[in-house]
């Protein structure tokens, strides 16, 4: 029997029972659509996070106080040495690969202009911070590059802070009070929104020494290091750790590469996507049982037809092939419809949440289609074998 004849015969018999065929198609379509839509969502979340990291700059090393290793003695290793401005200076001086070094202090303070007042995140850093965090100036200047230890009373405002405190006014050149300190506004950042959980628009950046006095800190929150080239990343990381080991007499800092952080997040979200996809795939099994049901009904309804086929010289194997093909056509058609429906759902989702780069990963599409086909054939096997094993005489005589 030719393949084209086989497909024609199988599709004609499916077309004979439109409602039944349609219902089992819907079952399979929902399963595939669920896999496509849910994995697209997971993949979207993963890419969103990865893009967030990319937006704060590549080739980044982050020095965090304390070691992530667990030690056996309580108190030891849990209270690491602080990292200081001097450490930061030493880094910049002694490690040539460190192109930009931005020490960071973080706190919350009230920021006021006249009667207007709001809480804002106060970031203490240096001129390098602008490039390290990939920020841009809307107006004025960023922090001047000058002696690290010179704490001038100047501030750069985030977009929202500037608009709230100076409605309809030019903030640059004016004075704000941060905590008890008066500072001159020298610039305003371009609107950026939330980056890595920090709202750039709700931030005030001041020189690091100023922030330490203002917030009463003696140590740094962390140090961002931008490395000249990606190839130097690992070597620089090792140098940084060695430098701190020398200065603190022990290895008491953790240096995160951005890659590692991204990879971790990406891995977690990838696993999540896989898990969600697998759960959705269970519905494919349910759809397969639906197909089995339809095929069993079809076989019992068409018992006389099977008997006739056998009488005119159609072999058992051909009968098996016909019914398997019908099951496979059903599931493949359901799979394609589900793919279209899932794709549509993703488009709608992206329209509602434009920030989410949701699109189903290729593996999920392949897996959903492959699985639907496989499930159809697998669950079609029982009915098809039942059809093939019918006794020709009894099948012909059935009512």
């Amino acid at each position: 029997m030719r393949a084209s004849d086989l497909f024609r015969f199988a599709s004609r018999s499916l077309g004979g029972h439109r409602l039944r065929t349609a219902l089992s198609l819907v079952g399979m379509a929902i399963g595939v659509a669920a896999v496509v839509a849910l994995t697209a969502l997971g993949e979207g979340a993963r890419r969103y996070v990865v893009e967030q990291f990319a937006s704060i700059g590549t080739n980044l090393l982050i020095v965090v106080p304390g070691r992530t290793e667990t030690t056996g003695i309580p108190g030891l290793g849990a209270a690491p040495n602080d990292i200081t401005l001097q450490d930061s200076e030493a880094l910049a001086r002694q490690i040539p690969e460190a192109e930009k070094v931005a020490p960071v202090v973080v706190g919350t303070e009230s920021v006021a202009h006249g009667a207007r007042r709001r809480q804002a995140a106060v970031i203490g850093s240096t001129s390098d911070f602008l490039e390290v965090r990939k920020l841009e100036m809307a107006r004025g200047e960023f922090l001047p590059s000058e002696d690290l230890l010179r704490g001038r009373p100047v501030a750069v405002l985030g977009d929202r802070v500037a608009r709230e405190l100076f409605p309809g006014e030019e903030p640059v050149g004016q004075v704000v009070r941060i905590g008890g300190w008066r500072m001159r506004v020298i610039g305003v950042l371009t609107q950026k929104g939330v980056q890595l959980g920090a709202d750039i628009d709700d931030m005030v950046v001041v020189p690091v020494v100023t922030a330490m006095k203002l917030l009463d800190r003696r140590s740094l929150f962390r140090i961002f290091i931008q490395v000249r080239a990606t190839a130097d990343l690992e070597r620089t990381k090792a140098k940084v750790i060695r430098l701190f080991a020398e200065r603190h007499d022990e290895e008491d800092v953790t240096v995160l590469t951005q890659d590692a952080v991204v990879a971790t997040f990406s891995q977690i979200l990838g696993a999540l996507t896989l898990a969600v996809g697998a759960i959705a795939a269970i519905s494919l099994t349910v759809a397969g049982i639906g197909i089995m049901n339809v095929m069993l009904v079809s076989v019992s309804e068409r018992t006389r037809e099977i008997g006739l086929l056998r009488a005119v010289g159609v072999g058992r194997r051909q009968v098996l092939t016909v019914f398997l093909t019908e099951a496979a056509l059903l599931s493949a058609a359901g799979g394609l419809i589900g793919l279209a429906a899932g794709w549509l759902a993703v488009r709608i989702l992206v329209r509602i949440f434009p920030a989410l780069p949701a699109s189903p990963p290729a593996w999920a599409i392949a897996a959903a289609l492959g699985l639907s086909l496989g499930v159809g054939v697998l669950f079609g096997l029982l009915p098809a074998r039942r059809a093939a094993r019918l006794d020709p005489v009894l099948a012909l005589a059935s009512r």
């Binding site: 029997m1 030719r2 004849d5 015969f9 004609r12 018999s13 077309g15 004979g16 006389r304 037809e305 008997g307 006739l308 086929l309 056998r310 009488a311 005119v312 010289g313 159609v314 072999g315 058992r316 194997r317 051909q318 020709p392 005489v393 012909l396």
Partner: protein
């Protein structure tokens, strides 16, 4: 063409063995027109299905065209049916969703006959039963007689040597029934062996030879021209070929 030697077939029905055929010895020559008669339950359909390679005897041997086919496996029997045998049934057995032409085409589709040749043979087969203009009608748009003619066209389309008909006129009015018998006989005149199962004496009368079965035994053999009513035909043979009491009577 056909030689049956000691054919027996026993069914299990509700745990009870039913002796459908008991020790049948029979020979049918090529080109012969034979009617198998008997009341319902006499085993005549079982015999037809064994001759048609749809069923296998429990014992005895069956020679078809010089080949012992009674012991063949399912696959080989299927091939024998495909290449040598055409069936016509009482209830037509057309596939309801297919047109007349597609129904006729069906055996060739599964036998992988090229499409162009199929179209030509379908047209010829339908024309030979006078239904060329009904090719695109589905069975529910055809009369009973037309349906049986489509079924006959389907039985003929693979060019069989043996045509088997199981009560071919059972569901038809007299006129359509006669038409079908005429068509069957025309095939027989062309040299095809024809075996018809019937309980209708008017059908049996037209055969060269009639074999009468009662309770699985051949109780009589007579020329078709000698067939009268069924009552005396199915009555116990004064000299039964097998020692089995025969109680069956009449029609059914």
């Amino acid at each position: 063409m056909i030689r049956l030697e000691g054919i027996s077939r026993t069914y299990q029905l509700g745990g009870q063995p039913v002796h459908a055929l008991v020790d049948i010895h029979e020979e049918i020559r090529t080109g012969e027109h034979v009617a198998i008669m008997g009341p319902s339950g006499s085993g005549k359909s079982t015999l037809l299905y064994i001759i048609g390679c749809m069923d296998r005897p429990d014992s005895g041997s069956y020679w078809l065209d010089g080949r012992e086919v009674g012991r063949l496996g399912d696959e080989e029997l299927t091939a024998v049916r495909r290449d040598l045998i055409g069936f016509v049934f009482q209830s037509f057995h057309l596939v309801p969703r297919l047109t007349a032409a597609e129904n006729v085409e069906l055996p060739m589709v599964f036998a992988a006959v090229p499409r162009a040749e199929r179209r030509e043979r379908v047209a010829r087969a339908l024309a030979s039963v006078g239904l060329a203009d009904r090719a695109d009608h589905r069975p529910d748009q055809l009369s009973g007689g037309e349906r049986q003619r489509v079924a006959l066209a389907r039985a003929m389309v693979m060019g069989p040597r043996l045509l088997l008909a199981d009560e071919p006129t059972g569901n038809l009015d007299t006129t359509s029934g006669r038409q079908i018998l005429d068509l069957l006989e025309r095939r027989n005149d062309e040299g095809m062996t024809l075996v018809v199962v019937t309980h209708d004496p008017t059908v049996a009368k037209r055969a060269d030879r009639v074999i009468v079965l009662v309770d699985g035994h051949v109780v009589r053999r007579l020329p078709g021209s000698e067939v009268a009513g069924t009552a005396d035909l199915f009555a116990a043979d004064p000299h039964p070929p097998a020692p089995s009491p025969v109680t069956g009577r009449g029609g059914g």
